[in-house]
């Protein structure tokens, strides 16, 4: 049995258990140490993924290929950024407890298992490990009513989605007799012969996963959870789990059910269009910036799904490039949002940003870079994400999707530039508290990535290309 291919997950899980023991035993400053150890664990896992072998193991239930490596690296990056951002926020918010980094770590292990799953059972296992950790994180500010509400809402709706997913898996298993991705792909080579039961099963699986990436019409939980959860948790929600769920969706739809593309393509197209349009229009009326980011992430998932809808390696490549850029700009945006704090209290209204360009030009410039990037204005990285996705869509002949996509991106641009308007054109409100160095570090690092991506797009695009072709073997 080739267990070494799961080394990153195993090592990370062991580190997680060790941190748990360490956190219980140590009384003082446990949180800082635990967070640092967690980030260290992420770094070790990062190196292991980079150097680790490829292949499949555990009787074909677990696979490590370029696709899983690409996504694991991205997940670990997102999780590390979120961990750094949580330090300052949790401390000032009075919710610093050592369980926080540990939960994050276990959620990350779950995500890594998800992207490596090559069996529907492994998939479910990884997904539940991730979800259960996230439910707790959402309610982490346990004295805060909104946070508890967010946790409960996420738990109930997430449970429902998991149920649907499980039901879909059981249908697929019942009608095909296997849960293994490779065997499923072989069985379904001729889509004509696929039994309707399998198709229904696929639809249920799709619904379950659409819930996890918060695509319309399974998005209802997103704004409430984003707003209610502590911001440090929201930034985590918006980055790593989105990558994991999207990777899972890509693998499941392309690899075992790849031959059924005719059956699921129209569904993905509809979900994608609905997400882009709803994300764009619903965000206009928001006054809370976290809620706005929730709708923005719904729209972003819509763009990413547009790449999936094409059902080709080029489409998957587009999605991977998109997700990479998305993680960086989202982490950066949330770093700026966490920096919004007046007299020790976190503020999250868009109007609180008024005149930021006068009070804190650096922060305003960074947030402006992220907003222009999200709006897809060139030279910023966000443009390239959209470029590759729409390139694939046009290549696949999905013109409706492409036209609706670019037009809704104009609507989206309206609310992104409204934030810039508030920062630059409105008279200054009171200044924010001093930024913590950790926030500045994350914002500047991701800001530089967003701003300078255009100089060297090749490495990311090439890696995404290799990864995309790995699941179409």
């Amino acid at each position: 049995m080739n267990w070494t291919i799961a080394l990153p997950e195993i090592v990370l899980a062991v580190i997680g258990l060790a941190i748990l023991i360490f956190g219980v035993l140590r009384k003082q400053d446990a949180v800082l140490m635990c967070t640092m150890l967690t980030i260290g664990g992420f770094l070790i896992a990062f190196m292991l993924v980079l150097t680790g072998g490829k292949g499949s193991g555990f009787n074909g239930q677990f696979v490590a290929d370029s696709f899983s490596s690409f996504n694991k690296l991205l997940i670990l990056t997102g999780a590390s950024l979120a961990a750094i951002l949580s330090l300052d926020f949790n401390h000032k918010q009075g919710i610093e407890r050592f369980e926080y980094p540990v939960l994050m770590l276990f959620a990350t292990v779950g995500m890594m298992i998800m992207v490596s799953a090559s069996n529907l059972m492994t998939l479910y296992l990884g997904l539940e490990l991730q979800s259960l950790s996230l439910y707790v994180l959402a309610a982490f500010a346990r004295d805060d009513l909104r946070s508890s509400e967010a946790g409960l809402k996420y738990f109930v709706l997430g449970g429902l989605a998991s149920g649907l997913l499980l039901y879909g898996i059981s249908l697929v298993y019942g009608f095909s007799g296997t849960m293994d991705f490779a065997q499923l792909a072989k069985l379904l080579t001729n889509p004509e012969l696929a039994s309707p039961g399998v198709i229904v099963g696929v639809v249920f699986v799709l619904v379950g996963l659409a819930f996890k990436v918060s695509a319309v019409p399974f998005h209802m939980w997103t704004p409430d959870v984003y707003e209610g959860a502590p911001t440090s948790v929201t930034v985590f929600f918006a980055t790593a789990p989105k990558v994991a769920a999207m990777a899972l969706l890509l693998r499941v739809m392309s690899s075992p059910f790849g031959h059924l593309v005719a059956a699921w393509q129209s569904l993905i197209v509809i979900v994608s269009i609905a997400s882009m349009v709803l994300g764009a229009f619903a965000a206009i009326g928001q006054s809370n910036i976290k809620r706005l980011m929730a709708y923005s992430s719904i729209a972003n998932m819509g763009y990413a799904l547009a790449g999936l809808a094409v059902g080709t390696p080029d489409g998957v490549r587009g999605v991977l490039v998109y997700m990479t850029i998305y993680v960086f700009m989202t982490a950066g945006t949330f770093a700026c949002i966490i920096a919004m704090r007046r007299q020790g209290r976190a503020v999250e209204q868009i109007s609180d940003l008024a005149g930021l360009a006068t009070n804190d030009p650096m922060l305003a410039m960074l947030l402006a870079i992220f907003m222009f990037s999200m709006a897809g204005i060139p030279l910023m990285a966000g443009f390239f994400g959209k470029l590759y996705v729409f390139l694939a869509a046009v290549q696949g002949g999905l013109w409706t999707l492409a036209v609706v996509g670019v037009l809704s991106s104009v609507v989206g641009a309206f609310y992104y530039i409204r934030i810039i308007k508030v920062m630059y054109f409105d008279p200054p409100a009171g200044a924010f508290d001093r930024r913590a160095p950790s926030l500045s570090f994350v914002a500047m690092a991701t800001g530089l990535f967003t701003l300078l991506f255009f100089l060297f797009p090749s490495p990311v695009v090439d890696a995404a290309n290799v990864a995309a072709h790995a699941i179409f073997k």
Binding site: I377, L387, V403, Y424, F425
Partner: protein, 503 residues
């Protein structure tokens, strides 16, 4: 590949930006240092671009100073720069107007000077890069990135309704651009490359050409701007600071027309011919309707903004005649409008800086107190009208000649713009400059300062030069335009032949 001169003038302003952003000190030092850094940077860029002007080989129809660096090799997208006779003068227009704008905002911009100068230099990079780009993706990036500095310039340093104007400007232009993005992607997939010279020689099927043309049209028509999508322009002009208006009228409006002549006409010859009557209709409406609107304006900047729409209507008529006179006339008009309308916005800026009003009725009798100003205003007004001997005449005359070869009525209606233009410009001039001095603050008004003379002098020289000896400008694009017209005719002939075979 020789020394990358084009990349140098494109990216040099960014070095200036870096310097400006790193200036430390109290507000006054920062402002003064930022002004000087921006001015020197733009002057150095101007000098380098003059070197290009001198070294440019006028007999060559193709692209010169070509640079090519692999950027996304597996998608056949390269960072490719180069200029031909059509683009070289627009590069120069951008590099000439930028230092003028910086000089013009020397005193009128007092808040956030550092950011203003940085935004202007970023804008220069984007404009020059756009005119030099020989790769469609690179072109698109510069074309669209212009929005960022311009949005901020209007929004931060603009007038009372600046937010509305900035957002409107941004969304109008973006809507057009994203549709062009789709056309770009379709061409990319069809031709397998985004190299502009290759795309110019790629034949696209007629059905596809029509869709591509409409997508391009959505983008360029907004930028030109053509009637009925011109409504963002008066708002943007009125609210923008003087320098913003100057660059908007001088260079940004040319981007749309440049797009037509660089992309629509050579790449989509059949669709261009098919849609030419449609373009003519919109252009004639623009010429007549917006001229009449201009006649009724109470605001000086708004009046000039509407006159810009009318003048750009003449440009689009010229470009879509597909003959040498018409296209040359269109190009000349773009250039002269770039100089003259920019100068007119500066003229408005001069009195706005002193009285803080753009209302025409607020002025009158300025000739008494400001003879120098009245002279400069007169010169540019005449050039705008198209008086022979000034820059405006050559372009309009050539366009009318070209239009006559297409259709008599087109030439007549297009030419009507000149008459209406004379009406609203002279009416404006009479109300502002002549009449009696009635207000006290006007009695004390000062004539042009040496700095302002320095701003106007190059523009006066250019206006006269273009009018008196136009061939030193048309000489640049003679070869390129002749090659383009030839290729266009050949392409149309080919299509007709093909149709003949099929029937």
């Amino acid at each position: 590949m020789g020394f990358p001169l084009l990349s140098l003038i494109t990216w040099l302003p960014m070095v200036g930006v870096a310097v400006i952003l790193s200036i430390r000190g109290d507000e006054k030092t920062v402002a003064s240092n930022a002004r000087w850094t921006a001015l020197w940077t733009s002057l150095i860029v101007l000098v380098i671009s003059l070197v290009i002007w001198v070294k440019f080989d006028r007999s060559e129809a193709g692209f010169q100073f070509v640079e090519n660096v692999a950027w996304l090799p597996e998608y056949k997208v390269g960072y490719k720069m180069g200029i031909d006779g059509i683009s070289v003068l627009f590069v120069l227009l951008s590099t000439v107007l930028t230092p003028i704008c910086i000089l013009a905002s020397w005193e009128s911009i007092q808040t956030k000077v550092r950011e203003f100068m940085a935004a202007f230099l970023i804008l220069e990079t984007m404009m020059v890069g756009m005119f030099c780009a020989l790769d469609f993706v690179v072109f698109y990036m510069f074309f669209e990135a212009v929005l960022i500095p311009m949005y901020l310039i209007i929004g931060v340093w603009g007038g009372p309704r600046r937010v509305y104007a900035a957002v409107k400007f941004f969304l109008f232009t973006l809507t057009g651009s994203v549709l062009m993005l789709l056309a770009l992607l379709a061409m990319w997939l069809m031709a397998g490359t985004t190299d502009i010279p290759t795309l110019m020689h790629t034949h696209f099927p007629l059905g596809m050409q029509k869709w591509l043309f409409l997508a391009f049209f959505a983008s360029f028509a907004v930028k030109v701007p053509m009637w009925p999508v011109h409504t963002w322009l008066p708002d943007a002009h009125v609210e923008a600071p003087t320098a913003g208006s100057v660059i908007l009228a001088g260079v940004l409006l040319k981007m749309g027309a440049y797009g037509f002549i660089r992309f629509s006409i050579p790449m989509l010859p059949d669709a261009s011919a098919y849609f030419a009557p449609f373009i003519f209709t919109l252009s004639v409406v623009a010429v007549i309707y917006t001229s009449l609107v201009a006649l009724a304006q109470e605001d000086m900047k708004k009046l000039i903004a509407y006159s810009s729409v009318a003048h750009m209507g003449v440009v689009t008529i010229g470009l879509f005649t597909f003959n040498e006179q018409g296209i040359q006339g269109g190009l000349f008009m773009m250039l002269s409008h770039g100089v003259v309308s920019a100068a007119l916005f500066l003229i408005v800026g001069v009195v706005y800086d002193r009285i803080h009003s753009r209302e025409i009725a607020r002025y009158g009798g300025l000739a008494d107190r400001m003879p120098g100003y009245a002279f400069a205003f007169m010169l540019f007004a005449m050039a705008s009208v198209g008086l022979p001997g000034t820059a405006g005449f050559v372009g309009e005359f050539l366009v009318i000649l070209g239009a006559l070869q297409v259709n008599f009525w087109l030439a007549l209606l297009g030419g009507a713009g000149m008459i209406l233009g004379a009406a609203y410009t002279l009416y404006l001039y009479r109300r502002v400059i002549f009449g009696r001095l009635t207000r006290d603050d006007l009695r004390a008004i000062l004539d042009l300062s040496p700095r302002e003379w320095a701003v106007f002098a190059p523009l006066i020289v250019l206006t006269m030069w273009m009018g008196i000896y136009p061939s030193s400008f048309t000489g640049f694009w003679d070869a390129s335009v002749a090659a383009m017209v030839k290729q266009h005719t050949a392409a149309l002939l080919e299509t007709t032949k093909l149709a003949g075979v099929l029937h």
